[in-house]
Symmetry: C2
Subunit: 459 residues, 2 copies
């Protein structure tokens, strides 16, 4: 009992401000542009997002206050505990000290509500009555359903049809929180009807669902659209993870030598790492920060930095990011949250700046790591989170080889209780590793041809 | 932010001893007996349970130390937070202060591992290499799988075949924690083979699964059986819930006027309430303590106090308890954990003593309550837990009618993320209320004929 395994904070210690990395970046992020390469101003986004969130999106202020009503809901599960993974350390025989931040304690089970709640709040304050969004496996849709329910606005979720039919549990969660969840493509939008006319049996796609959600948002002045990752204000809201972690590590006199997060759109990675990057930019630490992604969706490790659209139908402005091309079709790996073709512009920028590293990992190694974690630390991880665990284990083994007492910090972004079919497929030997062949990558990247190019770093 | 919604304790504040209500009962509980009414001694239980747990089962010591290794694993999710349900209070417009103890934060998602971990530990210390158990929907099986995995012994779970086939997610959880989970009836036991010979398509039953688990346990000296409720040592291990809660309420200067828990076998109810009953017996509080059960399985509210077997095949000794008869077949309500025919002897005794009240509630009211809870407090409850929420809402409304600022404490025994089909059935209008007709009750109670009778209170 003398050895603590978790550091808990009281509600009074909840951070009152989000940290905006934009204020401290060595070079500015190129602006979003239109197809002609002209910067998109805030007004152009107004039909899609409320102006108070657009202001956050373009803000250069270092600290932004968290409203009291948002804090009141975040308190339901925050501050989240910081764990020392002593049993995993022992199992690995490593001299490293492994810490993980447990974001799975939120009602929807992941870090996603950290941004869903403020997004619902700022929309409500702006007079918006309803949010639309898309969801694949349902992680984001259930977080937004939860947030809208507690904030008190309506929520409409377009869920990719194949997930709607084959993975009904997240849909039931959304319904339990009062959201209206429909299979996409639906007959409720022009784009949906057009696609159903062409192919009534289409399984749908995230790109189609985004198009439907945006179409419904822009046609009604009391409706707006909500995105669960990629954008600056989403990264901002997630920094509460790293800000809490800094307090918790300070309480036990620790500082991380390595910070690890998995990266799909980039939000949980940004959440854990940006407050530490702040110190790295200031020169007060040389912490290594590592983003991990699937080998089958190697955005940070193999894709070019380019202007690209956030969706297949190119309804969004062009964003500067590492991207596999908006026509990218990922292979069916189980970590649905890591299958996005692009990467948050802010995460892309810190990789460009050399402030972080990126690593791609095969899914079998990730499942193996998640099983080792479950058998030692007890918690069943989401398949996305497993990518962070796998890298943590690699670093812990390296510390053992080098005989170093390194402090490794990982963001444990969510639990896997809704993703158990992936574990079953793993145990049954039905999962395989998949590397994206160069010729396929080239084909996807062809969709970037003719688009404007972002300037060189600092250019 | 000035109003706290949860009280968290650090690991140093984890209770170091369990509380044994037996030490303080006004009258002793009648002993377990055989079919002739002769008391069963500890030795008779030795083929089924290890002697160190049998010693706890018959102990009259008030406090029993929690071993360090057990504390080390409980620390993974304990102490659990105590919440003030301010949003639910506001929604109900009640002057009552509602608190709930959040037992859903454990890796398997309920209070069950509070006893699974010490049971696995005491078996290991006794030299046992493998535990067998039965499970219906899988809540208990997954808790024991988790516990055995972390303690380091094998776990074999006989899961009722219809659940094994229709509700595969808990089975996958057990497999992820390394347990061997088989459909019951299986071909691995005499009783299983015999039943399959008669009916190869049988859906199985909890009674059959218990018989298989006990058969495998008694035939091998390194194997024992584990039960997730009913027995004294299970109630003992669960008292950590109430002991933590007392500390948490003391920190904010509160004492409950009403304590509420749902009751199937009785363990989560005992866990939250026994430490408060200690004070009630001593005369230092007149707290009302309420056990809630389904109208369709009205053990405490309509059944007689009798000697009865714990299982259909009558393989267990006869226990003194409120019982619907061991042949009881519950209707298919969704709260699988509340469908047991009997009730823990200790919980039965405190009802006999007039120390607690019992209330039966229909399932539609429970789902309605769980939805109100999810829409205000955010968390999705297990259907069992919904029975405690429904009574809490009744009490909060009563406090409003009477204009009383009562303090109501509820045990929130587990989350409902693995039970979402029940919510869906509720939303689709497919759930109905069911009251056990008198003539059906009489028929089940006929199975008690010819069994020994327990003595009158204090007799």
């Amino acid at each position: 009992m003398s050895e603590l395994i978790k550091v808990v904070l009281s509600e009074e210690e909840l951070p009152r401000q989000w940290y905006n990395l934009v204020a401290d970046l060595p070079h500015p992020v190129p602006p979003p542009v239109d197809m002609q390469g002209q910067p998109i101003g805030p007004d152009a986004l107004a039909p899609v997002f409320p102006m108070n969130l657009i202001e956050q999106e373009v803000s250069t202020a270092r600290w932004i206050d968290i409203p009291e009503e948002v804090l009141g809901i975040l308190k339901i599960w925050r501050p989240t505990p910081l764990y020392r993974a002593r049993r995993l350390e022992e199992y690995l025989g490593t001299p490293a000290k492994i810490f993980f931040k447990h974001e799975g304690v939120s009602p929807p089970g992941s870090h996603k509500p950290n941004t869903a709640v403020p997004q619902a709040y700022f929309n409500k304050v702006f007079g918006i009555k309803r949010l639309t969004t898309e969801t694949g496996a349902g992680q984001w849709g259930s977080a937004l359903a939860f947030a809208c329910n507690l904030i008190g606005i309506e929520c409409k979720v377009f869920m990719v049809r194949i997930s709607f039919d084959q993975k009904p549990f997240r849909k039931m969660m959304m319904q339990a929180w009062g959201a209206n969840c429909v299979a996409s493509p639906s007959t409720e939008t022009k784009v949906g009807r057009s696609i159903l006319d062409d192919d009534p049996n289409t399984p749908g796609s995230l790109g189609i669902a985004i198009s439907e959600a945006i179409e419904q948002a822009v046609q009604d002045d009391q409706t707006r659209y909500s995105l669960g990752s990629v954008l600056n204000h989403v990264m901002l809201h997630q920094t509460i993870i790293g800000l809490e972690t800094k307090k918790q590590m300070a309480l036990i006199g620790m500082k991380p030598d390595v910070v690890i997060g998995c990266a799909g759109g980039g939000s949980n990675f940004a959440g854990i790492s940006f407050p530490f990057l702040c110190d790295k930019i200031a020169g007060s630490t040389d912490v290594r920060v590592i983003a991990t992604e699937p080998e089958s969706c190697p955005t940070l490790t193999r894709a070019p930095y380019a202007y690209d659209s956030g969706d297949v139908a190119m309804m969004t402005p062009l964003l500067p990011m590492y991207t596999l091309g908006h026509t990218f079709v990922p292979p069916p790996i189980h970590a649905g949250g890591l299958r996005y073709h692009g990467m948050a512009p802010l995460v892309s920028q810190v990789l460009r700046e050399g402030l972080i590293e990126a690593v791609a990992i095969h899914q079998l190694e990730c499942y193996e790591a998640a099983i080792a974690f479950a058998h030692t630390e007890g918690f069943l991880s989401a398949p996305e989170t497993a990518h962070a665990i796998a890298q943590t284990i690699r670093e812990a083994k390296r510390a053992k080889e080098e005989g170093k007492e390194r402090v490794i910090l990982m963001n444990w972004s969510g639990h896997g209780l809704m993703d158990l079919t992936g574990y079953q497929a793993y145990f049954e030997g039905k999962l395989h590793d998949y590397s994206l062949p160069d010729e396929h990558l080239e084909r996807f990247l062809a969709s970037l041809k003719g688009l404007p190019k972002p300037p060189e770093l600092g250019g």
